[in-house]
């Protein structure tokens, strides 16, 4: 059943029963998520974390020919500074002040739309919702209706609010929903010779790594919605097929493209590690009937990697993986093959879709640590110290606290980790990290009395 008939995307909690509050063991998590619905939990102590507004802005800022209007107080628009790109994109703030929270900010929104159109001549304008507008219940749609005909380009409301979902990937779903509903070409009779590669959170290094492989295999493709243009988004419905770089982020877009626009979805896994990349390419090759070519490419890549692969660089090292659930398998497998003992993982959420990943974690013991939460460094600090973890492998930023707990960080930021190239880079990063073991530490930010307790002390069953 397509969700496109709905005015806006459902939150991950409503659509897939997403859980973002859990701290226990892998076995406990499998048990907790085994039913058709996942019970919600809460944290009675929490640390701030990304929300769907941040994720939505991040994707929109990578779409060419568009302008983002952050409809809220001036602080929300600091999202634009966070992209640290010198005017690669343009954003406006409606700059709502106290008076607007009482009288409404419609006039400012109208003014922002007209300015955006006049100054940038974009092909689409996105209006990003923020808490102030959501609480105020400003009527965004009547402003859009009034101006869309006048300026002649799509004005698209992104229904984020910052507090209705505890799962930030809801931001990707909200963007997806709006793009499909208001931009993607509804005329799907003629398919063209290219595939859609769905990317939401990948950095340019990872996208380039996969793009390089596809180019070598002579596969025509476009990347969506990150690193795309309005025209490319429009013709997503004309693609031969869709692949997704991180299934738990891009499934929604791929499935809707299949169901509503008849674009086949080649379901696969994140192209991480040798095995993940191989599976990803074989599925693609099989669909495109170029298996032989793909197998030859993989063989060549395998030979190159085997030359340099040292299987014991993590011998005697206790490893913890901090990544989205769809990637834990790829990273975990690779780190285990390098001789590491993986003692646990943390991921931002588990839902009815991505919970199937948990069954694949055969390299983990049943009592391995499982933390589900966005950020929540205090819980990780608790486990890091208790379990004497050596390597903290993370795709998140701001991990300096890890060194205070005696471990060293291997970050996936600012480097490629996808594709065959990623294997080499990860190994090189581990080597560098090992040289830093035991260095740069400081006193812990967390009280000893807390760290002596169970790490799940503040995760409680939600009482409705």
């Amino acid at each position: 059943m397509s969700f496109l008939d709905d005015r806006k995307a459902l939150t991950r909690e409503k659509r897939l029963s997403a859980l973002s509050h859990f701290h226990g063991t892998l076995e406990g998590l499998i048990d907790e998520t085994s039913g058709t619905e996942i019970k919600q939990r809460i944290r009675t102590f929490s640390q701030i974390h990304v929300d769907e507004t941040i994720y939505a802005f991040d994707v929109l800022s990578k779409i060419e020919d568009s302008v983002i209007i952050v409809n809220g107080s001036i602080g929300c628009s600091a999202l634009g500074i966070a992209q640290d790109e010198e005017e690669a994109f343009t954003w406006f703030s409606t700059n709502l002040v106290e008076r607007d929270t009482i009288l409404g900010g419609d006039d400012k929104l109208r003014e922002a739309i007209l300015r955006a159109n006049e100054e940038k001549h974009p092909k689409a304008i996105f209006i990003l919702g923020t808490p102030v507008v959501a609480i105020n219940n400003d009527d965004i749609n009547s402003v859009i209706l009034e101006l869309e005909d006048e300026i002649g380009i799509p004005i698209i409301s992104i229904y984020t609010d910052g507090f209705k979902s505890k799962t930030p990937v809801t931001g990707y779903d909200i963007v997806t929903h709006s793009l499909l509903k208001y931009l993607v070409d509804k005329n799907v009779d003629l398919k063209e010779d290219f595939i859609n590669v769905i990317s939401f959170s990948e950095n340019i290094e990872d996208v380039a790594s996969i793009a390089g492989i596809l180019h070598e295999l002579n596969i025509k493709f476009q990347v969506l919605p990150r690193f795309s243009s309005i025209e490319e988004i429009r013709k997503a419905s004309k693609a031969r097929a869709t692949v997704v770089l991180n299934p738990e982020e891009g499934d929604y877009l791929a499935k809707e493209l299949e169901e509503v626009f008849g674009v086949p979805y080649i379901e696969s896994e994140a192209p991480i590690g040798f095995r993940g990349t191989k599976n990803f390419l074989l599925k693609l090759g099989s669909f495109l009937n170029i298996e032989e070519q793909v197998v030859a490419y993989i063989d060549e890549a395998e030979a190159k990697i085997s030359e340099q692969f040292v299987s014991n660089i993590l011998e005697d090292k206790r490893v913890f993986v901090d990544a989205s659930l769809s990637k834990v398998y790829g990273y975990g497998r690779l780190l285990t093959n390098l001789g590491g003992q993986m003692v646990g993982f943390s991921s931002p959420f588990v839902d009815l879709d991505n919970k199937k990943q948990l069954k694949r974690f055969d390299f983990l013991q049943k009592n391995a640590i499982a933390i589900i939460g966005n950020g929540q460094q205090f819980e990780k600090a608790n486990e890091l110290e208790k379990n004497h973890i050596d390597i903290f492998f993370s795709e998140n930023v701001g991990n300096s606290y890890v060194t205070d707990e005696g471990a060293v960080v291997v970050s996936t930021k600012n480097r490629v980790t996808y594709g065959f190239e990623g294997v080499d880079v990860i190994i090189a990063s581990i080597r560098r990290a090992l040289r830093l073991q035991g260095k740069n530490g400081n006193v812990s930010s967390y009280k000893d009395s807390f760290k002596r307790r169970s790490g799940n002390w503040y995760v409680k069953q939600e009482v409705s």
């Binding site: 929300c76 966070a82 010198e86 808490p131 105020n136 930030p168």
Partner: protein
């Protein structure tokens, strides 16, 4: 001018309050907002390269308010969060920060704070919401609110220290060089035998907040520090002086110390010895760049974009030392109507710059740069593309500055002065080189045939063909 802002740069009052609080060693902020409000500020500031404080970013405790807290109120969630923060996180002082949501919902943040203070815990709060103002406003108000109530949670008898000075007006993060500038101010004051309460950075901390009332005077280095200074005057009779900007020359340093001398006893010998040494330092470097000033014609048409304090400091320096003509000053932090501050820099600004603008809107700034016909723009990374489009040299010295690491580098005092000057000269020289390369390409293109290379700073030309030799001879 419009209320809508293109590419705004400064964040909101919550952001200002948050970055102020987490840059004070020992202070733990607790944000009562939805999950992402504080993160936005962290991600924005992360792009600037000042490094991360212990309780910044994802380490910040916060209520991560959800829909239910918006509908039914979030006070009980806040109570729970404060209580548990004290149990989990090491800190000497916990500061509760309000947000747009909790202000709109009407949560009684103050009551929750009082409740925990009654249990003897060191907790204070501020009630400003994001939409109350920009981040500079947040800096000033959170300091004011902390100083207003810290006496109730950190007992300390007033005991004036005749050498201690409070330093206000250097806004963490919003001055990209705040760490180095605080250290430079400390160097100057300790140089004449004084002590400073910096509050932030390497030498700051909770003790500075507790001891602020014991200072003999406060110095406010921009309009954004008047409020806490006035509070200390009213409550604890700590006098304050306001100056328009941080010092950026030996003369500025002397004027500053002379002003301070009205309130604090400074040993004449120590003072003169230090200031003489500052003058000697400055004179040495300034004399070394005199050739450059003349040969590179450094008195360029210059436009400055940044906080009012920075505009004054940079403008005075470049016009006085290099003879730069400041054709415009764009104040990105100033209020169009400022009823909260006594400081009025209008006359001073008019004496420095030919035109004064108050805006942080990228379109306004682009138009101003275009109209100004400036040769050098001192601004932020947000001006980079505009500068490129208009073939103007850009010196990035105001927030935000992307893709750099800025830790203890200073742009204040005589050391900061030299840093600023060498950057200015460097960028003019780079431009000059570009021009020369362009001229070489031009000559090559009009003469046709083989290439030639210019060597030794244009003094001689190595000719690798007879034809080129003729061309040069004819030109001479």
């Amino acid at each position: 001018m419009s209320n809508v802002i293109k590419n705004p740069r400064n964040g909101c009052a919550l952001h200002g309050a948050l970055q102020t609080v987490h840059e004070i060693e020992g202070v733990v902020p607790v944000v009562h907002a939805n999950a992402g409000c504080g993160v936005i500020n962290y991600l924005a500031n992360k792009s600037v390269g000042n490094g991360a404080g212990r309780y910044s970013g994802f380490a910040i405790p916060g209520t991560a308010a959800q829909e239910r807290h918006v509908i039914f109120g979030g006070a009980s969630r806040l109570r729970e969060q404060i209580k548990n923060t004290i149990k989990v996180v090491n800190g000497d002082l916990y500061v509760i920060l309000n947000s747009c949501e909790s202000a709109m919902v009407g949560d009684d943040v103050d009551a929750m704070t009082r409740e925990i203070v009654e249990q003897g815990e060191p907790v204070v709060d501020t009630l400003i919401a994001g939409f109350n103002g920009g981040s500079h406003y947040g800096y000033e108000h959170v300091l004011n609110d902390i100083l207003k109530t810290i006496d109730g949670v950190k007992k300390n008898e007033k005991n004036t220290d005749s050498k201690l000075i409070n330093i206000f007006g250097i806004v963490p993060q919003k001055d990209p060089y705040w760490q180095g500038n605080l250290e430079e101010i400390r160097r100057i004051f300790t140089g004449v035998g004084l002590k400073v309460n910096l509050f932030f950075g390497v030498y700051g901390g909770v003790d500075d907040l507790v001891n602020a009332k014991n200072a003999v005077a406060s110095v406010v280095f921009s309009r954004w520090g008047e409020l806490p200074a006035k509070l200390l005057k009213e409550r604890f009779d700590v006098p304050y002086i306001t100056v328009s900007s941080l010092p950026a020359s030996a003369r500025d340093e002397r004027e500053l110390i002379e002003k301070i001398s009205e309130y604090v006893d400074i040993d004449q010998e120590v003072r003169e010895s230090f200031l003489n040494s500052e003058e000697k330092y400055e004179k040495n470097y300034l004399s070394r760049i005199r050739d450059d000033i003349f040969e590179y014609d450094l008195g360029k048409r210059t436009l400055i974009v940044g906080d009012e304090e920075q505009v004054i400091r940079y403008g005075k320096l470049f016009s006085e030392v290099l003879g730069a003509r400041v054709v415009g000053a764009v104040l990105t932090d100033a209020l169009k109507k400022d009823e909260e501050h006594d400081r009025d820099n209008t006359e001073l600004l008019e004496s420095i710059a030919e035109n004064i603008y108050i805006t942080s809107d990228a379109k306004d700034i682009e138009d101003i740069i275009k109209r100004s016909r400036a040769e050098v723009v001192i601004g932020s990374s947000l001006e980079k593309k505009i500068a490129e489009k208009n073939n103007v040299s850009l010196l990035e010295f105001s927030y935000p500055i992307y893709h750099r690491a800025i830790l203890n580098q200073t742009t204040a005092g005589v050391r900061g002065q030299i840093e600023l000057l060498q950057s200015y000269i460097s960028i003019v020289k780079e431009k000059q080189l570009e021009k020369k390369e362009e001229l070489i390409r031009f000559v090559q293109s009009v003469k046709g045939g083989e290439s030639w290379h210019e060597l030794s700073h244009g003094k001689s030309v190595v000719r690798n063909s007879e034809r080129t030799a003729k061309l040069v001879n004819y030109g001479g």
